[in-house]
């Protein structure tokens, strides 16, 4: 399949700007001393980045089969590695998700971070650069640099500003993800020696032998499965989530996990289609295990953050299931779920962060009976919980429905096995919501309801939840041609 590479025609190099503006902001922070200024600069940088990224959404041409807004220039001639950025229907929404969440992450850390604000914001902005870079890179070396570079600020976010077991959680996170990605590097070098270039578009949809695909797929799959994380590689996730500061959790859940599924979609399907089909039963099985197992684990959680972390494992199970169903519904559902999970779970982590700032506890027990004291908080929580178990009218409903359709289209048994998982989600989320809202509250000190700043960063998420839930068509239109072409290429390839 011939991929088009449409150069960027906007007046400014949009992808470079969106990728490196946060980095520039971070460097500017070094010069500043006063905390208010630091916060203001961080917020401005992320907000400005969001607005500068909007043309990606509006000027995007869904009919282009290949990459748009492409920028290339020479970078490392010795390895024929180029500086190349570009997006298609898969990566553009993910870039938008990242730039959308970044200002919210800055806002939610306004009060929560008291120490070392400068360094914290520095890490946040660095993260944004790395995350956008991962989705926008069209060169493997560049991709790998962003992919790995993100580990350092994320590690520091957990290790420095994390909870009591931050040491354990951060090192586990780092080692797990790094071990996964070292084999990715070998696979990338193998591809380079095969193709003579590190270019990603040139590596997609080529006739690699099955033996080659087999090994490359395995090397890719370990890296991506750890990042997603798929069962049984998921144990780093709850630890990291529980200890990370709120903004770290949001980035982790909303964007980092997507990098794994993005990798599956972009690289595993595009580069190793035959091996992907060969391994699909395993992947589907692991996804099902993740959905059901994580669902049961969620039922037993007493810690809100832990519960949401495990629910992420289940949700990401839906995504990998959709990807390896090899149906258009499945693909669409997977991409939808990636975005929805980013919005909803990010929002839920923000909710936990808000209550934690007030009660200094994440246990459901300590935070029960908030319905009377914090009505606004509970209203938002209710919306996001409903969204999380895919209540009709919310964003997750659309995604889960698509994945279910894909699963049924692939194999009826698989579809039937997913249903209990969806029911479990309702069970654990409603259990959480019930206990937080309705229990009797003892003689504890009074709690303040949401302040305007908190409403400010929850509102966009709430709007996104309902908007995507009621009118998914805009998003579908953006992603469908790319996904259809991907499926087409998979089907036509031997």
């Amino acid at each position: 399949m011939e991929l088009q590479l449409v150069p960027n025609s906007l007046p400014y190099p949009i992808l470079s700007t969106v990728t490196f503006l946060p980095l520039a902001g971070a460097l500017l922070l070094i010069l500043l001393e006063r905390e208010e200024w630091i916060k203001a600069v961080a917020l401005t940088a992320t907000l400005l980045n969001f607005f500068l990224a909007l043309p990606l959404l509006f000027a995007f041409d869904p009919e282009v089969l290949g990459f748009q807004f492409v920028e290339t220039s020479s970078w490392f001639p010795f390895l024929k590695a180029r500086y190349a950025l570009g997006v298609d229907g898969i990566s553009m929404p993910l870039v938008m998700l990242t730039v959308f969440l970044s200002p919210l992450c800055v806002l939610c850390s306004w009060r929560a971070i008291e120490q070392r604000v400068k360094e914290f914001m520095f890490c946040l902005l660095l993260m944004e650069t790395a995350m956008v870079g991962v989705f926008a890179s069209l060169d493997f070396v560049l991709f790998y640099i962003f992919w790995e570079a993100m580990l350092i600020p994320m590690y520091l976010l957990i290790a420095v500003w994390g909870g009591p077991r931050k040491d354990y959680a951060s090192i586990k996170f780092f080692i797990y993800t790094l071990v996964g990605s070292v084999f990715l590097l070998v696979a990338i070098i193998a591809l380079y020696l095969h193709n003579g270039t590190f270019s990603i578009p040139e590596a997609l949809f080529r006739d690699y032998s099955f033996g080659f695909q087999y090994w490359v797929f395995l090397a890719f799959a370990i890296a991506f499965a750890i990042k997603v994380p798929m069962f049984p590689f998921h144990t780093w996730l709850p630890a990291a989530h529980v200890e990370a500061p709120t903004a770290g959790s949001v980035f982790l859940a909303s964007v980092l996990l997507k990098m794994g599924t993005y990798g599956f979609m972009r690289f595993s399907l595009g580069i190793t289609p035959r091996a992907s089909i060969h391994f699909a039963p395993v992947m589907v099985f692991l996804s099902l295990v993740a959905i059901i197992y994580a669902g049961f684990v969620c039922l037993g959680q007493e810690d809100m953050k832990r519960l949401i972390a495990y629910s992420s494992v289940a949700h990401m199970g839906f995504v990998t299931l959709g990807i390896f169903s090899f149906t258009l519904w499945g693909f669409k559902g997977a991409l939808f779920q990636m975005l929805n999970h980013g919005v909803t779970t990010g929002a839920l982590f923000l909710m936990v962060g808000i209550i934690y700032e007030r009660t200094h506890s994440r246990l459901i027990e300590d935070n029960s009976g908030l319905g009377k004291v914090m009505p606004l908080y509970v209203a938002f929580l209710g919306l996001f919980c409903f969204s999380s178990f895919a209540f009709p009218g919310t964003n997750n409903f659309v995604g889960e429905l698509f994945v279910l359709l894909g699963a049924f289209e692939m194999k009826r048994t698989v579809g039937l096995l997913v249903v209990p998982g969806a029911v479990l989600a309702a069970a654990y989320m409603l259990r959480l919501l019930k206990r937080i809202t309705w229990r009797e509250r003892g003689q504890q000190r009074p709690l303040r309801d949401l302040c305007p700043r908190e409403v400010l960063y929850l509102l966009p998420l709430a709007v996104a939840v309902i908007w995507v839930g009621l009118a998914p068509k805009g998003l579908t239109a953006v992603m469908e041609p790319t996904l259809r072409a991907l499926l087409e290429a998979l089907k036509t390839h031997p």
Partner: protein, 467 residues
């Protein structure tokens, strides 16, 4: 004579220290003098990078390859001297001129080594650099360096002996001591065990310098026993010279010398595995760096075994980065050390609060040693891995990748101690302006090589081995 300017200048600075060592009196001012001289040496080496020529009947050759290494050697020497504000705390003040004299002499030996194209001149240059360093090791205050010095000399002497033995074979097989003629002669015998053995034994001297398994035994003790600056020097500068010669000699070997390459591949794999696994349990920072150095000797061998297919550029790039990131860690050791005592991993606790810039230098260097982007260490690994993969050493690349993951644990541990632990009773660390500048310089260079490797690599690429 202009073509020998870097060597001549180094020799002159050696003479300056020599004269100074004959006089008594206060010696504190010799430190800035050494810094200035080594800086000038670096500039001169950089200015004469494009020189070319042959001397002494072809046994000494000045070409881009050798000149690049001379620049790196001069840079290494300058950086080591620049770290040395506190060398008084470690070395008796009376011995300071000798200290600088021997390190300069050692560098002179290495400069000659990278240009040498004759077995005799190779041997003489190598011994010149070795003996100079043997003499520096025991100069540390409190004489803790004595055991280290003895070990270093004994191991070094044995390695030299073995190397001479191998050179004898080379001469016997080919009837010449000139590397170019040996190359011709070796073609015929490389399939035989004798040829392989001759070449491998000749390499032993350089493997010793590089602390490659199984010639690494000296490294942990010498690192621990020698003063910090000496260790920083031993850990970086002689290794540059060793890699230069390894590149030359492996390039010499005929293309079909599979058995010979297999020996190097095996040594590389063993070296990195041993270094990393033993590195996991080290508590003394310098011992840890010794094992890290053993592991990195293994990594750089990936570039060495692929020199025929990809040229020397990957290995040179790797060594350039190695120089910087290693010195980054040593700089932290030097500054943290109190009265010249060794620094343990425990002493890093809470470094982030005590000296943020040092903690950052430590983090960047450690992540670079572990090969995490966007540091130069990653780019170095990428180029040598790619080179080795292209040369068909896939198993070695896989072993190296697994090793990268293993090594992460102890490098990350350093960062973890400095960022996640409480300082407890450890006080603030004072960092002078000069040291600050050096910290920033190393951080920026390490990141520069990681993010914009193109220009540097372009320079190294031109350095095709002229043989």
């Amino acid at each position: 004579m202009g073509r020998l300017l870097p060597e001549l200048f180094t020799f002159c600075s050696f003479l300056v220290y020599f004269v100074l060592s004959l006089r008594g009196g206060r010696r504190g001012w010799i430190i800035p003098l050494a810094q200035a001289l080594s800086f000038a040496g670096m500039v001169i080496a950089g200015a004469s990078v494009l020189q070319e020529g042959e001397f002494f009947g072809g046994s000494y050759r000045v070409d881009l390859f050798s000149q690049l290494f001379k620049v790196l050697l001069a840079c290494g020497l300058f950086l080591v001297f620049a770290m040395g504000r506190r060398s008084e705390e470690e070395v008796h003040e009376g011995y300071l001129p000798e200290f600088y004299m021997f390190l300069t002499l050692g560098t002179l030996g290495l400069m000659i080594l990278v240009s040498a194209r004759d077995l005799i001149s190779v041997f003489i240059a190598l011994e010149l650099s070795s003996y100079a360093v043997y003499a520096v090791v025991p100069l540390r205050k409190r004489m803790v360096g004595l055991e280290a010095a003895a070990k270093y000399i004994f191991f070094g002497a044995v390695a030299s002996g073995v190397m001479l033995y191998g050179m004898g074979y080379l001469y016997a097989l080919t009837g010449s001591t000139h590397l170019g003629t040996i190359l011709e002669g070796l073609r015929k015998v490389m399939a035989e065990p004798m040829g392989v053995m001759a070449l491998v034994l000749t390499l032993v001297g350089f493997m010793f310098k590089l602390s490659l398994f199984p010639f690494h035994f000296w490294a942990p003790d010498v690192y621990e026993g020698a003063s910090h600056l000496t260790t920083a020097y031993i850990a970086t500068v002689p290794k540059l010279g060793a890699v230069a010669l390894l590149l030359r000699l492996v390039h010499l070997a005929p293309a079909d010398a599979q058995a010979f390459l297999w020996v190097l591949v095996a040594l590389s794999a063993l070296s990195m595995t041993l270094g990393n696994v033993v590195g996991l349990v080290q508590r003394d920072l310098k011992r840890l760096l010794a094992y890290s150095g053993i592991a990195h000797a293994g990594y750089v061998m990936l570039g060495v075994v692929a020199v025929k297919q990809s040229g020397p550029a990957p290995a040179i790039f790797y060594m350039a980065v190695y120089l910087l990131m290693n010195l980054g860690l040593f700089l932290v050791v030097v500054i943290l050390s109190k009265e010249g005592r060794n620094v343990g991993v425990e002493d890093l606790k809470g470094l982030w609060r005590r000296a943020p810039l040092l903690a950052l230098t430590l983090a960047v260097s450690a992540f670079s040693l572990a090969g995490i982007p966007p540091t130069g260490g990653f780019m170095g690994k990428l180029v040598v891995f790619t080179a080795a993969f292209r040369a068909g050493h896939l198993p070695l690349v896989v072993i190296a990748t697994v090793n990268t993951a293993v090594s992460l644990f102890y490098y990350l541990n350093l960062v973890r101690y400095s960022y996640c632990r409480d300082p407890e009773a450890r006080g603030e660390v004072s960092v002078t302006l000069g040291e600050r500048v050096l910290c920033y310089l190393l951080i920026i260079l390490i990141l520069y090589l990681g993010i914009f490797p193109g220009p540097t690599m372009k320079i190294f690429e031109v350095a095709i081995l002229g043989l």
